[in-house]
Symmetry: C2
Subunit: 349 residues, 2 copies
């Protein structure tokens, strides 16, 4: 089925994909659904986004086993208007619902020039950049967002009432690499605060508040408190708007209605996503887009860097380079992730 | 034509609108076009966004007089796909092009559930929140963006190659006030740095860099340098993506191709905008949306504030309250703005 290698040796993309599909089949998913999930997660690992890649087999697997996620989801798509698709994920694995919504939005955009898919009844759908890449390679510009478990306090508030909701964009570049931006709304990830705590360092007071909602430089207080959004009230506003589009308008849960997958792994989260796709072929020729995208990137790359050792880059460049490198040298995963994949794969029929 | 009052007494909305329409007619615009421009700018003043309201008569007027903006623009709209509208602003006044694009996008969204208008050949189009409000009052959720004159360095770069591009969102709230977010990508506006300089104060090193691209706490160095985007590379990425959608995909100018209206007032800027509109009536009933939006706002307002004197608010609340107050007590403008409006109005036929 797949070439066996020592757990933490680099994997080829096809071998890793085959193993991971077996693992999700072992968790009860039909083969085609397992392939959708794995496409997103392997792409995340190719990009070097390991926290959002196949390491998720742990939390997804746990929730599939306790019935918190439905392994046999019947995903339905309604079209109440020509460019609109309403996707009911039936509490399926997040990247499966995400792939259905992405395809629905691409279909709508092919017909109408722009298409919107709103998904409800979903779960954590991985990072956004894999979807943006698939869209860009098919000629679509994209804006994609998801809501998330509550971890952030309202601006000036004192308890977690909104998620660190991710927002992503992609623009095709027929003559080179697409532009891909995939960002959450906090200044830094929680892991950076945890690392400062482990090293006994202080943190800038712009990263987080204590549990009373006051900015803090103490990583311990910050871990008991809340991450701060980028630009203060601006990031707060952006996180809310992502939740309004991804959660409220999609008829999914939003804000504190989103259940925590940590505290209640057996309950459906009812997360929501939005996918806005634009068919760039309706805007101009491939030559037109190729020329403009290369010019756009060149203007940015030509800015003399403040630090000569760190040239100016464009969004997605780091992830796409990592992908190219790992396609040559193999994908490195933690041994524990490989073990878990093997364990679930062994149960596959 | 309009009630005459002393220059800096508060104005009623109808009187101010009538004066401003006369002023833009005096600058050569047809009456219907003047009305479109004034609708956006008076709404900005109602929101308290005076830097983006009728005070713009100064720069818009100057450019109209030297031929940098076309007072008799023939705005055309193509529809290469059912939900897509390509708007050529013919170098008209920005809010006129903006209103045409907004109407085109609402028309597309009415037909297809979601609509996208991309505008080129435009100029500074005022703030975004007036468009979002008009859309929300008509039942449309919106994502709107524009590119802008270059004032920001690429992340890690040392010269201005991208604009402080604004991005805005709106969601209708049939039972209350809509959510409106209108933000530029810098941590603070340049005016805040200028004020710190005037008061002899230092600034946080997260606001701006010196001209070599190094973070600075000296407001003088910052004024010679560049504003920093929110969240560092995240705000840089967001500003680029707004320019890609608003400028590159619309076939307008982008990045350094956007001419400065200060350095070259007589040249067309060829700015671009995007308007994505979603018809919320295709998503659910008015009762459904009313219930969800009120619940959403309540969850946020109920968070206990860190500072008891500053309750948690939602995006747009400050501007909408200011609008309600000014509709009761009148709109206050600077005397110089009123003089300039009168001066141009006197030339109207």
């Amino acid at each position: 089925m797949f070439t066996d290698v020592t757990p933490n040796a680099p994997w080829s993309e096809p071998d890793l994909t085959a193993l991971a599909i077996q693992a999700f089949k072992g968790l009860g998913l039909p083969p085609a659904d397992a392939a959708d999930v794995v496409r997103v997660l392997v792409q995340a690992d190719l990009f070097g986004l390991n926290t959002h890649g196949l390491s998720r087999i742990e939390s997804y697997g746990e929730r599939l086993l306790v019935g918190g996620i439905n392994p046999r989801a019947t995903i339905t798509v309604e079209s109440p208007a020509p460019a609109l698709r309403l996707v009911d994920g039936d509490n399926g694995v997040g990247p499966l619902v995400g792939m259905h919504a992405l395809r629905a939005a691409m279909d709508a955009a092919t017909q109408c020039g722009v298409g919107l898919a709103l998904a409800r009844g979903s779960n954590h759908f991985g990072p956004i950049s894999p979807y943006s890449l698939i869209a860009a390679e098919a000629g679509f510009a994209s804006m994609i967002g998801s809501n998330a478990t509550t971890t952030i306090a309202p601006w000036g508030g004192t308890d977690a009432r909104l998620g660190n909701s991710p927002l992503g964009f992609g623009v095709p570049n027929p003559g080179g690499q697409p532009f891909l931006l995939d960002m959450a709304m906090s200044v830094v990830a929680r892991a950076k605060v945890r690392n400062a705590f482990k090293r006994g360092e202080t943190i800038p007071d712009t990263w987080a508040t204590d549990k009373a909602g006051r900015p803090t430089t103490d990583p311990k207080s910050a871990l008991d408190g809340f991450l701060l959004p980028i630009g203060g009230h601006k990031g707060y506003g952006l996180a809310l708007l992502v939740d309004l589009f991804a959660g409220l308008l999609s008829n999914a849960a939003y804000l504190t209605h989103v259940k925590s997958w940590v505290d209640a792994p057996e309950e459906p989260q009812n997360l929501g996503h939005f996918f806005i796709l634009i068919d760039t072929r309706r805007l101009g020729s491939t030559e037109w887009l190729t020329h403009r995208m290369l010019d756009f990137a060149t203007i940015l790359h030509d800015s003399v860097p403040a630090d000569a050792s760190r040239p100016v880059i464009v969004p997605g460049e780091i992830e796409l380079e990592k992908m190219t490198r790992q396609r040559e040298t193999g994908i490195v995963l933690e041994a524990a992730v490989v073990s878990l994949l093997r364990q679930h794969a062994a149960k596959a029929v």
